[in-house]
């Protein structure tokens, strides 16, 4: 009986419309598999597959944790930036404590965060070769400068952060950006930033201080995605200064009016 069913159903194997039911019978024809002469355990594929999967995932986990302990390719690229680590930490601390509690501050923090993120990457967002800048980069700079210009005008008491620069620009956190940019340049080329470039940026900031509000609103809507946010929040809120400012500042009242002097 089953042989006849097989023959009749095998002819209809290629038909798509009834293939499910005829195929079922064929499946059952395959079903009675002979289990004689098995060399290994009959569930060996099952066991081997699951053990292999588990080993692969655990191996991946150990590779990731080993990467955290030993060096990584990014570290060599930013060896020039490594020396500024304490200054970066101090910078971020400044960002959290000294600036006013405006809603846009969070944006600026995010931007400074993003700046730092891009700095470690090697500056995908900036290029300082010559005076020719792409439109995107100049608009990015305008965003950054606008947010810094409009938000940070209070003089900073810890001049020591900028003291290694040895200049008198330490009056506003706008120079946080300048320092980041300069650090980036140092990372890329390991040479000192010329004062000319700082002046150019300063002038561009002053010129573009009348930028429409929409860009700032766009920046306000920007959010570091939950991957980075969550990971940074879970990275130990006590230790990462980055994760502190948005939480701290949202609770402070909106008392600071952003009135800037850049003179």
């Amino acid at each position: 009986m089953s042989a006849q069913r097989l023959i009749s159903n095998r002819t209809s194997q290629q038909s798509a419309s009834n293939s499910d039911y005829t195929w079922e019978y064929e499946y059952y024809e395959i079903g009675p598999v002979s289990f004689e002469g098995l060399k290994a355990h009959k569930y060996s594929i099952v066991i081997g597959f699951w053990v292999g999967l588990a080993v692969f995932v655990i191996f991946m986990f150990f590779v990731l944790t080993l990467l955290t302990k030993t060096g990584a390719p990014h570290q060599e690229k930013h060896s020039c930036v490594m020396e500024e680590q304490p200054h970066t930490a101090g910078l971020l601390g400044l960002l959290s404590h000294s600036a006013g509690a405006t809603g846009r501050h969070e944006t600026s923090i995010n931007i400074c965060k993003m700046n730092i993120g891009s700095v470690w990457k090697g500056g995908t967002t900036r290029s300082r070769e010559g005076t020719s800048r792409s439109n995107a980069e100049s608009s990015e700079k305008r965003f950054r400068m606008n947010s810094f210009v409009s938000d940070f005008g209070r003089p900073l008491e810890p001049d020591k952060v900028f003291s290694r620069q040895g200049n008198e620009e330490s009056r506003s956190l706008f120079h946080c950006y300048i320092n980041e940019v300069e650090r980036l340049d140092r990372a890329k080329a390991c040479h000192q930033t010329t004062a000319l470039d700082s002046d150019v940026q300063l002038q561009e900031a002053i010129r573009s201080s009348g930028q429409p509000e929409e860009e700032l609103n766009r920046l306000m809507k920007f959010d570091i995605p939950n991957f980075v946010n969550t990971d940074q929040n879970s990275f130990g809120e006590d230790d990462l200064l980055i994760s502190e400012p948005p939480i701290v500042l949202e609770t402070k009242p909106l008392s600071q009016t952003s009135h800037k002097d850049l003179d």
Binding site: Y21, Y27, M60, L67, A136, T230
Partner: protein, 297 residues
């Protein structure tokens, strides 16, 4: 794929007693429960995103796409169970044209959900990658219009591929295409996330030398990739074995666990909101607001 999906329905009618690897049969209630939980969770994610204007960003649209594909997968299981119950109660003819058409439709729903899931996960990883590595150009690269276009293209492609695969389900190239999608997407997602992890790790290394932070990042990444691998790989291997070695006793023993493998895919639909959608604080807040507002109704 129909033969794979429908093969477990008539287990009672077959002479399986001469097989040493009996099919593992899970009770229908488990499938129903998991599927309904999956549908509800993903529906909540969709509602939270559509009700809140501030969540209408590209990142959340990609998460919505993942929620839709998970919901389709759970819906497929619910529909299939309903059809099986109706057939067992005798309301449906076993070989009627309606039943075969219904089977075709829900099988294409299944393949659509699989492909949608895989592509949504890849797109989410790509979006996060752009956010981290092109942070300041993110808004010019990932605009809302491009998001809508990308999602439309993906879902159109998945629908077309799903229908094609169901029509040609017993041809070997179909199976090879389907099963090769999984490792390709896995490698793609793995590369993106590992690169992002390296950046985050070097970032926190500059700020804080706490190893616990990096350990958490490694755990997060392992969970993301591990859930993807554990839930999808068994079924993909089942499809491969069904095509290439159906009469091998070892393969038959692996294929006897088909229902467990299917349940893992349902579990993936249940777990995905927790590791993608509800990791976002904004979405959690929107969700809480929805729950508290509904108490006042």
């Amino acid at each position: 794929m129909k033969h794979i999906i429908n093969s477990h329905e008539n287990i009672n009618n077959t002479a399986r007693n001469n097989s040493d690897c009996p099919h593992v049969v899970l009770p229908e209630e488990i499938f129903f429960t998991i599927s309904i939980v999956g549908v509800l969770e993903n529906l909540i994610v969709l509602l939270a995103v559509f009700k809140n204007k501030n969540l209408q960003a590209p990142m959340y649209f990609f998460i919505c796409s993942l929620a839709i594909s998970d919901m389709l997968g759970s819906l497929y299981k619910i529909l299939e169970n309903i059809l099986i119950i109706l057939r067992n109660m005798g309301y449906l003819k076993p070989r009627g044209s309606f039943e075969t058409t219904a089977d075709d439709i829900i099988d294409s729903l299944f393949v659509l959900s699989l492909l949608g899931s895989i592509f949504s996960l890849s797109v989410i990883a790509a979006d996060r990658y752009i956010t981290i590595f092109h942070a300041l150009r993110y808004h010019s690269i990932v605009t809302m219009r491009r998001t809508v276009v990308v999602l439309t293209v993906i879902w159109t492609f998945c629908t077309g591929t799903g229908i094609t695969m169901v029509i040609f389900s017993h041809h070997v190239p179909t199976v090879i295409t389907f099963t090769s999608l999984f490792p390709l997407m896995l490698v793609f997602i793995l590369c993106l996330y590992v690169h992002m992890f390296l950046l985050a790790r070097s970032h926190t290394r500059k700020i804080s030398t706490l190893p616990r932070a990096n350990m958490k990042g490694a755990i997060t990444l392992t969970i993301l990739l591990g859930v993807f691998i554990f839930c999808w790989a068994p079924f993909v291997l089942h499809v491969l074995l069904m095509t290439f070695c159906p009469s091998n006793p070892y393969c038959a023993c692996y294929m006897s666990l088909f229902q467990v493998n299917g349940m893992l895919i349902m579990c993936n639909a249940v777990i995905d909101p927790f590791i993608y959608a509800f990791r976002s604080p904004e979405l959690r807040d929107a969700f809480k607001k929805m729950i508290f507002c509904s108490r006042y109704w």
